[in-house]
């Protein structure tokens, strides 16, 4: 029997006329990494704010590490680490000072404070930059520090809100290694992202969000198999040709999606010989994503 670190049932959050989260159910089992995948405005960040009680739900039940939100949020937050989407480090302080401040905010006892800061420095690979002011660090270093700051008190659960948004590919891979190491230590992670590859690499299960709702959940492989089949046929051509292929595929009962310059026909392996000229490739999570959210993403 596995326990849940996060359990949301029927959660609704409205901002005036906008319903940002619309009846969301979410389970995050302890010791797993769950990816919240969705286009901008799908409600991922609002969900993250609900989990730290910086937003209060209008309806629904929220439990985090067994604590009811928002009533017992402070207890929950003591065992929670949060990496925000937007960098909010104290830029005129040194790396070490930033970590020390959070060692106090997370109530680490006097005897363990030094060790906690050292451990976080090593985790962020910033031991030799401990005395550098944050505004002198590169973007990747800052993001590593932001993550390490959230881990200074060895939280049971970590929320990563778009951990690699706006970073170079090399830096992104560095951060993936950091998150992967965390995962292998058994820390539970809820990560929101709109990078498909990030979710595919790091998440045990993925929840796809659209318009404040969960539209699909499962392991990346399950989702692909269930919604996009095994193989995709990518057909290139002028717009008129693409429209033709779409119509033909629809006639065969196959689903398609536009990718700007081409049409992707999903699940062609079950297409009874339907084979216009094109490139075959394995189906991926992006196919599922676009199919379910109807939106192209970065």
């Amino acid at each position: 029997m596995s326990d849940l670190a996060i359990r949301l049932r029927g959660v609704v959050k409205r901002y005036g006329p906008i319903t940002a989260v619309d009846g969301l159910d979410l389970d995050v089992p302890l010791g797993t990494c769950v990816g919240l995948l969705g286009p901008n405005g799908a409600g991922k960040s609002t969900t993250m704010r609900l989990l730290t009680a910086q937003a209060i739900a209008d309806e629904g039940e929220l439990e985090l590490l067994g604590f009811r939100l928002p009533e017992e949020s402070k207890q929950a937050r003591a065992q929670l680490g949060v990496t925000p989407q937007l960098d909010n480090l104290d830029v005129t302080l040194t790396v070490e000072q930033n970590l020390l401040v959070f060692a106090y905010l997370y109530r680490i006892g006097r005897g363990e404070r030094r060790d906690a800061v050292e451990r976080a420095l090593e985790l962020a690979k910033l031991v030799d930059r401990r005395d550098s002011r944050v505004d002198k660090l590169s973007g990747g270093m800052r993001r590593r520090l932001l993550i390490a700051r959230a881990l200074v008190h060895r939280p049971r659960l970590v929320l990563l809100d778009e951990p690699t948004v706006g970073l170079d590919p090399q830096v992104r891979q560095e951060l993936w290694a950091l998150v992967d190491a965390l995962r292998s230590e058994g820390t539970t992670i809820l990560m929101s992202t709109h990078y498909i590859e990030e979710a595919q690499r790091l998440a045990d299960t993925v929840l796809i969000m659209s318009h404040g709702k969960a539209v699909a959940a499962g392991t990346p492989a399950e989702l692909v198999r269930e919604h996009a089949g095994d193989e995709v046929l990518e057909v290139y051509g002028p717009p008129s040709r693409l429209a033709e292929v779409e119509a033909e595929a629809a006639g065969e009962g196959l689903r398609t999606r536009r990718t700007g310059t081409s049409v992707s026909v999903l699940g062609v392996e079950s297409g009874n010989g339907f084979a216009p000229e094109g490139e075959r490739r394995p189906a991926n999570l992006e196919d599922v994503f676009v199919l379910l959210t109807g939106e192209e993403i970065a």
């Binding site: 670190a5 730290t52 909010n88």
Partner: protein, 266 residues
């Protein structure tokens, strides 16, 4: 699947010391990176007022209310120093930390509630005001004001007063949608209160209604208390004045918490 059993612990209460400490430590550590400019502006400004009015007007006025004018202004500008080192940093600092640095998002993700955050911020600013408030007095002493034992109470008076003005500044930042709104508050609220506080001229020469209104100006009570600390206490009247400062502080403290909760928690 069942939900994880929480590591049950003492239910965390309100206004916990460890939460206040966390926020205060952040302020103290940050202070190490900007104390020069902050100390400069909080001490030089009232000193300039003191010297300009004390010697400029002092040459014309001579004695006022039984005191040398430079002594009158030297004690009065303590309140000015308190105001400048509490209301203004609270307004601007809170707004910057909320809007631009997003510091409060990070703090509220830790086990700290808005009430604790606001309280710790106000305590910190009050403490700075308690120290900076003494500067005009020291300058006045250098220019001939006689030290008195009562002056030892000045840091406390400045602290209590500073706490209220810090909460006032936090409230303004909490209710404001943009920096521009601060102009209204400075022009319509702070400047009149600052001028009609008895700092530069005694209120007892003003029309009756203005004197009456002066009783509602916390800055006026701060001015009077400091003056009495230097020249002799007035018993119950002074206790009443201290009471006004305490009530002012408590009321704006709750307002500040409400304003920031509205701002920080959706």
């Amino acid at each position: 699947m069942t939900v994880a059993t929480p590591a049950r612990q003492r239910r965390l209460g309100r206004l916990e010391r460890s939460a206040l400490t966390g926020v205060l430590v952040r302020e103290v550590v940050n202070f190490s990176s900007y104390w020069r400019s902050s100390t400069f502006s909080s001490t030089v400004e009232p000193t300039i007022y003191l010297l300009a009015f004390g010697f400029g007007f002092g040459a014309l006025v001579g004695r006022i209310g039984g005191y040398e004018y430079v002594e009158f202004v030297g004690t009065g500008t303590v309140a000015t120093a308190v105001l400048f080192s509490s209301a203004f940093p609270a307004m601007f600092g809170t707004f910057v930390k909320y809007q631009f640095q997003r510091t409060y998002d990070a703090i509220l993700a830790a086990p700290v509630d808005t009430e604790e955050l606001v309280t710790a911020e106000a305590l910190w600013i009050a403490t700075r005001a308690g120290v900076y408030g003494c500067v005009p007095l020291l300058v006045a002493i250098a220019f001939g004001l006689d030290p008195a034992w009562g002056m030892l109470a000045v840091p406390l008076i400045a602290w209590v007063s500073g706490f209220g003005w810090a909460c006032f500044g936090i409230s303004v930042a909490g209710f404001s949608k943009s920096f521009e709104n601060f102009n209204y508050v400075v022009s319509a609220v702070l400047t009149p209160l600052f001028l009609v506080a008895g700092t530069f001229f005694p209120l007892d020469r003003l029309p009756g209604w203005a004197q009456f209104l002066g009783n509602f100006n916390p800055l006026h009570h701060c001015v009077e208390l400091v003056r009495h600390a230097a020249f002799g206490w007035e018993g119950w009247t002074d206790l009443l004045r201290l009471g006004v400062l305490v009530v002012f502080g408590l009321v704006v403290w709750r307002i500040a918490i409400r304003a920031m909760t509205r701002k920080l928690i959706d």
